[in-house]
């Protein structure tokens, strides 16, 4: 099959690799019809996540058709059109029983802090991802969700991570009616966090980024105020001025370990790996939120330590909440929101690229070229199928 192949920092290509096989009776093989590149894939692409092995296929956001199922699979059938949450999870362990699917204890032998994630390094279980023609999907009766017939495939692929993660970010902020919510990062997750903040009754939503086209996009898409932090001397001071010197009620970190905006953090973080990424946005969140406020973190940080102003968090009496999204929890409600027209996720897709051009697709997204917000990769087998279907119709 054709699959994305990681060769080293900033180097990927489309390569022929062996097809995945059923390795466990609960597995399915899914033929991928669409796979996204995610902002968090960039941390792998830049070589910042430990145990990212050469030859790995990335991609934790994909939808496709069930091609084959293992002997123990009872609910999922060959031919089902499914969206697959980015978490690899069992549904039965201590954490899954509490609906913490992002924290499954049965799918990742190589680390205890993080559960299994498709295509997200051996630290996240060593599974190959969906930026390929085929992918192995463990626990096929538990993870995949059959896509309702009236749901667009482009909406479905955004339900595998970006939308639920943005939604969970807002939810972890415990937003109350009228709250002022500041979202750091105008990537797909930040965009959906801003949108979700309104669903939860925010009174004011402010999005912070430094890329003008992303700010334009989120202003239009999520009807929020925006701040370009390059035009601001001091972020915490600026937010306080905007909020009558109180600070925001809720701050959301949708950036993670490669935040720009502070040279010292960039040098000690992404450049020299002395800390697990630049904690610039964590500083901004903790220092911009009001006393007693909530900070919600969904931006990815590496597993090593970070310089975080925990003293300020203590003195201000903050509530910090963070997690990988437990995607499966959110799906029924988010599908309702899409069907009711409250949110239209597919509008954020700006690029549709053949899988063969994966290297260019990564570069465009990583360098923020061509006004890129979200890229969908389409494998050759998916294109052939569509061509055949179109011919049959004629």
């Amino acid at each position: 099959m054709l699959a994305m192949n990681y060769r080293g920092p900033y180097r990927v290509r489309a390569d022929h690799k062996p097809d995945p096989v059923i390795e466990h009776p609960g597995d399915a093989i899914v033929r991928v019809t669409r796979a996204c590149i995610c902002g968090s894939d960039l941390h792998l692409y830049h070589g910042l996540v430990p145990d990212t092995r050469v030859g790995t296929t990335f991609g934790h956001e994909f939808v496709g058709i069930v091609e084959e199922v293992g002997s123990a699979v009872t609910k999922l059938k060959v031919g089902d059109h499914v969206l697959v949450p980015f978490n690899v999870f069992c549904g039965s362990c201590f954490f899954c029983q509490r609906e913490l699917y992002g924290n499954c204890h049965n799918t990742n032998p190589q680390a205890s802090a993080v559960g299994g994630i498709y295509g997200y390094s051996h630290t996240a279980g060593g599974y190959d991802g969906g930026q390929a023609e085929f992918v192995r999907v463990p626990m096929a009766d538990v993870g995949p969700t059959v896509i309702p017939p009236d749901l667009h495939e482009d909406d479905a692929v955004l339900l595998t991570d970006a939308l639920p993660t943005g939604y969970q970010a807002a939810e972890m902020g415990d937003i109350a009616e009228g709250d002022t919510v500041v979202v750091f990062g105008a990537g797909p997750v930040g965009i959906f966090a801003a949108k979700s903040a309104w669903l939860m009754g925010a009174g004011r939503v402010i999005v912070v980024d430094h890329v003008e086209y992303r700010l334009d996009f989120v202003r239009r898409y999520a009807q929020c105020e925006v701040i370009n932090f390059r035009e601001v001397d001091d972020m915490a001071l600026h937010i306080k001025k905007m909020t009558d010197w109180l600070g925001a009620d809720v701050c959301i970190d949708a950036v993670g370990c490669e935040a720009a905006g502070n040279a010292m953090q960039t040098i000690t973080g992404p450049y020299t790996l002395m800390q697990a990424g630049s904690a610039t946005v964590l500083h901004w969140c903790i220092n911009s939120v009001r006393k007693g406020g909530n900070v919600s973190i969904v931006g990815v940080y590496g597993p090593t330590f970070n310089a975080v102003p925990i003293g300020n968090a203590l003195n201000k009496g903050l509530t910090l909440r963070m997690n990988q999204a437990s995607v499966k929890r959110h799906l029924p409600r988010l599908i309702e929101h899409i069907q009711a027209g409250r949110i239209d996720p597919k509008q954020i897709i700006t690029h549709r690229v053949p899988l063969e051009e994966v290297a260019d697709a990564y570069h465009i997204f990583s360098s923020k070229l061509d006004n890129c917000i979200k890229t969908v990769l389409i494998p050759p087998s998916a294109r052939q199928t569509r061509a055949v279907a179109a011919t049959a119709l004629n």
Binding site: R7, P9, Y10, R11, R13, E23, H24, G26, G47, P50, D51, V54, G55, C90, G91, S92, C96, R98, E99, H105, N106, T107, N108, P109, Q110, A111, S112, G116, H122, T123, G125, G126, M139, V142, Q168, A176, G178, W198, L199, M200, G201, G203, R204, M242, D244, L246, D249, L273, P303, T304, F305, R321, H330, G341, E357, A361, H363, S366, L369, D370
Partner: protein
């Protein structure tokens, strides 16, 4: 913050009220919160009630998912899989591609002798990743494939969307190379 109003109408009223009466008003206590036309925002407040939020409370038991509450059968293991000392049992499920091999594999095995709590674990893994890149190049060459590194870095996209940037980078590289050549030549001449 206390929310004493149940209806959207009351909120609009409160904001109007604030404008009329100035500072001794509810709006003053809602520091810095200008009125928002909520009706203009599609879906505003649909999940205002926490009961509508699917991950509330954070830990929810019993789960709503129809999953068997028995430990999954273990996956057959055909390749070497490293196991964190902080969870010393093989999990029933794991990814099997790219088992550790070569020098990077030696480093990774060494890394897994320390816990996730130990900074050496992560630093060794990052080092192994860099060694692995060189191994990847050697592997490509060994099977007669000369990797097109520029293509792998997306130079086509750079040319299409950031031509000026690419030209500048090329000029800087050429200038640095030129100066270096000149300095070397001058030193050799003397």
């Amino acid at each position: 913050m206390n929310h004493t109003h149940d209806h959207e109408h009351d909120h609009k009223h409160a904001h109007e009220h604030a404008h009329e009466h100035g500072r001794n008003d509810l709006a003053v206590f809602q520091h810095g919160r200008p009125p928002v036309d909520r009706s203009a925002i599609q879906g505003w407040g649909a999940d205002l009630d926490r009961k509508n939020r699917p991950a509330y409370p954070m830990e929810r038991m019993p789960q709503r998912l129809d999953a068997p509450l028995t430990q999954p059968d273990p996956q057959a293991q055909h390749v070497e899989v490293l196991v964190s000392p902080e969870r010393p049992h093989m999990t029933p499920l794991f990814g099997s591609p790219q088992p550790p091999s070569g020098l990077s594999g030696v480093l990774r095995r060494a890394a897994f002798k320390t816990t996730e709590n130990d900074i050496r674990h992560w630093l060794l893994l990052l080092l192994a990743d860099r060694v692995n890149v060189v191994e990847g190049l050697a592997e490509d060459l060994a099977r007669g494939h000369v990797p097109n590194i520029f293509a792998e870095m997306g130079i086509k996209a750079e040319w299409e969307h950031n031509r000026m940037g690419l030209v500048k980078k090329a000029a800087v590289v050429a200038a640095v190379a030129g100066v270096g050549y000149y300095l070397l030549k001058r030193r050799n001449d003397h």
